[in-house]
């Protein structure tokens, strides 16, 4: 990956009088914040309820009361959720899918679902169809596609009452024509089905892109249910503002887009906490450590967005090539259990039971938080660090072990030798005491414990392109310009205010092993969300 270019920083522009509600629905807590411009008006942490919607209602009611606002005054609602990731990983509530691949004879030896774990295949029904179609890397037709090929699929859909279809065509990120034509034909005959097209979901790499498309199609019914329920719970609270849901790169999707692309919400959690850290600290280039009860996620902010992972990501044992934040997760958290004899810490943790089990809270287990409190006793008001009776000589190796874990993660995630700030979010930030190597300063922003909900509330909208250009056909400058315009257009289509759209990232990847000038270009544009609430009209 050479020639990585960066445009000027794209600051989050937030209009001062717009009121945003951010909600993060986590496994343990449902957090909510109200934000006006750059000010946090109110924040809360509530327990996630079994039906999750009660937790949302509790949290939202609380922040509205704190801020003294009425529900009509909210302009935007943003929700971050792990519902879809969890459903897929836990193999529950997945619907049956008809899978269509257009590309024969290409890739015939690698049919759809190759490499899926059997238990995943058993968790929903799949019907696979492979037909001619697809394109070459340069967009030329690979083999001809004809709509009538799909007639047996239509029969099957009708006979088995299937409701969801996944379509992937060879090199569809380069040329979408066949996927679009197939979708249109299917919808003409089966207007009620939902159709997932691979070019809208993944990038070059047939098996990973197709996997993501099938995952998406298997979540179609759940997406409908969850989004409906979000809307119902907001309607109950008399909130009429448009609803957005955060996706894995920190940008927003409309509720309708989530009905179509539930898979895009995968891994939005770490992204939201990093985006929240950027907002709270005002930093655009920094390392973020989100220290929870059991684990710490360390990531790198570049221009206010998490750096993307270059690795393949397995979800529920299925390989994908999503845009995912590059995160180093370590088994260290506020609840990590310490062994004073061996001088070790974690990975076992008391987790969310910290305030019952830790010594400083009257419990009997020595946790990382107890050790940290002996250094900085004022960090947690209700704690009693004097209950920790260990001697300094016993604490020192544990604190060293904690520092080492954090320093290693930081060092691994860093992109250059230059010193950068470290932003600490999450309840366990007290574990970091000394400034680790390679860090210019430690920032502990206010509201750090609800960074996720804040990250959700400030989401931007983005447009991406990922295509191979041949500089022999179209010169490099013209190719790049064309690609930029396509990304900007995609951002505007996604709901960005045209004036605020700028190019966030450009990557040029010359195709190795090949003579000539074929180059893959990936560009992302982002912009501020268009204000569509009644107040703005």
């Amino acid at each position: 990956m050479s020639n990585k270019q960066k445009s000027k920083p794209n600051k989050t522009q937030l209009t001062d009088d717009v009121i945003r509600l951010g909600v993060d629905v986590g496994g343990t807590n449902t957090d909510a914040v109200l934000i006006c411009g750059h000010h946090v008006l109110a924040s809360t942490k509530q327990t996630t309820t079994d039906n999750i919607y009660q937790g949302i209602e509790n949290a939202v009611t609380d922040v509205l009361q704190q801020a003294g606002l009425s529900s009509e005054e909210i302009d935007f609602c943003m929700i971050g959720t792990t519902q879809f990731t969890n459903a897929f990983v836990q193999r529950r509530e997945l619907n049956d899918v008809a899978i269509i691949r257009l590309g024969l004879p290409t890739a015939k030896a690698l049919p759809p679902l190759t490499g899926w774990p059997q238990s995943m295949l058993d968790s929903f029904k799949q019907q696979v169809f492979m037909f001619p179609g697809g394109h070459h890397f340069n967009g030329a037709v690979n083999s001809d596609f004809s709509e009538v090929l799909l007639d047996p699929v239509i029969e099957n859909i009708l006979a088995n009452s299937l409701s969801s279809v996944a379509i992937s065509a060879v090199f569809s990120p380069i040329n979408q024509e066949f996927e679009l034509r197939a979708k249109q034909y299917l919808l003409t005959h089966c207007p009620d089905i939902s159709v997932s097209m691979s070019h809208e979901i993944g990038r070059v790499g047939i098996i990973e892109r197709e996997n993501s498309t099938i995952m998406n199609a298997s979540l179609a019914k759940l997406a409908e249910r969850v989004v409906n329920a979000f809307e119902t719970s907001l309607a109950k609270l008399n909130i009429k503002a448009p609803l957005y849901i955060t996706q894995n790169d920190g940008t927003l999707m409309t509720a309708d887009a989530v009905r179509q692309f539930p898979v895009m919400t995968f891994a939005s959690g770490p992204t939201n906490s990093m985006r929240g850290a950027a907002f709270l600290s005002g930093q655009q280039e920094a390392i973020v450590a989100d220290i929870g009860g059991t684990t710490t996620d360390i990531g790198m902010l570049m221009q206010g967005f998490p750096r993307e992972s270059s690795m393949h990501v397995d979800i529920g044992g299925v390989r994908t090539n999503f845009r995912m934040p590059d995160i180093i997760a370590t088994g260290l958290g506020g609840g990590s259990i310490c062994d004073p004899v061996k001088g070790t810490v974690g990975p076992q943790s008391v987790g969310y039971l910290l305030k019952e089990k830790a010594i400083s809270f009257g419990g009997e287990i020595l946790t990382a938080t107890d050790c940290a409190l002996t250094r900085d006793p004022a960090f947690i008001k209700e704690a009693k660090p004097e209950l920790v009776t260990l001697k300094a000589a016993q604490l020192a190796p544990i604190n060293q072990a904690i520092n080492k874990l954090i320093s290693q993660g930081i060092d691994e995630i860093k992109t250059s030798r230059a010193k950068v700030p470290l932003i600490l979010v999450g309840g366990g930030h007290i574990l970091v005491h000394e400034t680790p190597a390679g860090i210019s300063e430690i920032i502990r922003p206010q509201y750090a414990e609800v960074a996720n909900a804040i990250g959700a509330s400030i989401g931007m909208v983005s447009g991406d392109i990922d295509q191979i250009f041949d500089y022999d056909d179209l010169q490099r400058d013209e190719s790049l310009e064309l690609a930029k315009q396509m990304a900007i257009k995609a951002a505007i289509v996604a709901g960005a205010i045209p004036d605020t759209v700028s190019i966030l990232d450009i990557q040029e990847m010359p195709l190795s092993y090949i003579k000539g000038q074929a180059t893959r270009i990936r560009i992302r544009a982002t912009g501020q969300l268009f204000l569509t609430s009644q107040r703005a009209c």
Binding site: S2, A109, T114, F137, V170, V204, I206, E412, L511, I514
Partner: protein, 360 residues
């Protein structure tokens, strides 16, 4: 030797190590092999000694851009056609198949071919590692003819290249692959049993599997990299194997020229005191400390994750990774003056003679 579905992950991991940083992502090769074995059954793997001297053996490989291979994979029919076309050209039936390159994706494609055709697969290859050019093969070094070179694609196109120069064949093949959509199936160096027994690098499929297993099993112990090094040092081919440096990748630079990915990568020890500079052309070519060469081609220079010993390709190496740089010897056939004239350091523009690894 037997290779079952459960072995494929280890085999592909070992092949990635022997790929010396190149050879393409073996993941797609592993998936193709998995699918072929599920459908057609596991291929029979034999040693060259089981073949008659006049038996006909051909190689099966993929050529092109790894970026395109991950989208096009192969159709299977293109592999069948490749074998048929070669058979027609030779005018005699083929008795066995072989990998030409044990490193990377080309370690797995012959498994697909053998499973589909039922032909036995010979436990050997032509380099004991991966190399960027068709001419960089023991068979070329020791005078076996590269021609005919057959290339096929999934649209039933076939091209036969006849030339008396392996280097020329490499150039023709790169042009043809462009017309075939940037990835194609390729067979070259058709051999008889006598040639193969004499000039093949034998047992490398077993070695790839065993090295992959050692890495996996090593993860249960304290030090996966050390486990890998001891496994390498127990082999005839790759011993002595040395750990050049453990450290962090602090710089990576890549340029693409003439259809290859060139570049260098700097690894620095954790205390910041030692550095190793790796150069690569698809595969790692040399390891240098300051101005001193520590290892060069044809020895294998491999980069593995310092924690779990997973091999890392030059294509995916990135800043911040914690790695071990390993250098191993190569089979004797690959270290003779004739061999070094084809793939010694000077063939890659390195200003040094080959420095054999002599100590662990």
């Amino acid at each position: 030797m037997n290779l079952t579905l459960n072995d494929l992950e280890d085999y592909a991991r070992g092949a990635a190590l022997l790929g010396a940083g190149g050879g393409g992502d073996p993941y797609i090769g592993r998936l193709l092999a998995e699918e072929a074995i599920k459908t057609y059954g596991a291929p029979r793997i034999i040693s060259a000694q089981e073949l008659d001297d006049d038996a006909v053996i051909i190689s099966v490989a993929m050529i092109g851009a790894p970026t395109v291979l991950i989208e096009k994979a192969c159709s299977g029919d293109d592999i069948d056609l490749l074998i048929k076309a070669m058979e027609a050209r030779l005018g005699k039936p083929i008795d066995a198949l072989m990998p030409i390159e044990i490193g990377g994706v080309n370690s797995c494609l012959p498994l697909v071919a053998a499973a589909r055709t039922g032909l036995p697969l010979v436990n050997c290859d032509g380099m004991g590692r991966a190399f960027p050019g068709l001419e960089m093969v023991t068979f070329n070094v020791y005078g076996c003819d590269i021609s005919p070179v057959v290339m096929t694609d999934e649209h039933n196109n076939q091209v036969v290249i006849d030339t008396d120069s392996a280097a020329k064949a490499e150039k023709f093949a790169r042009s043809v692959v462009g017309e075939m959509g940037l990835s194609a199936m390729l067979s070259c160096y058709p051999l008889n049993g006598k040639q193969l027994k004499k000039w093949g690098v034998h047992g490398t499929m077993t070695l790839a599997l065993e090295l992959g297993q050692s890495i996996r099993l090593g993860r249960n112990g304290d030090n996966a990299v050390q486990a890998l090094l001891s496994a390498l040092n127990q082999t005839d081919y790759y011993s002595p194997a040395r750990l050049l440096l453990t450290g962090k990748v602090v710089d990576v630079e890549r340029v693409t020229r003439d259809g290859f990915s060139f570049g260098h990568c700097l690894v620095q020890s954790f205390d910041g005191e030692k550095e190793v500079n790796l150069s690569f052309q698809n595969e790692f070519l040399s390891a240098k400390s300051q101005d001193t060469f520590l290892a060069t081609v044809p020895d294998i220079i491999a980069v593995v994750d310092s924690d779990n010993a997973e091999p890392i390709t030059a294509e995916t190496i990135r800043f911040g990774q914690r790695v071990c740089v390993i250098a191993t010897s190569v089979p004797e056939l690959m270290r003779t003056p004739e061999a070094l004239a084809i793939f010694g350091p000077r063939c890659f523009g390195l200003d040094t003679d080959y420095l054999p690894t002599t100590t662990k």
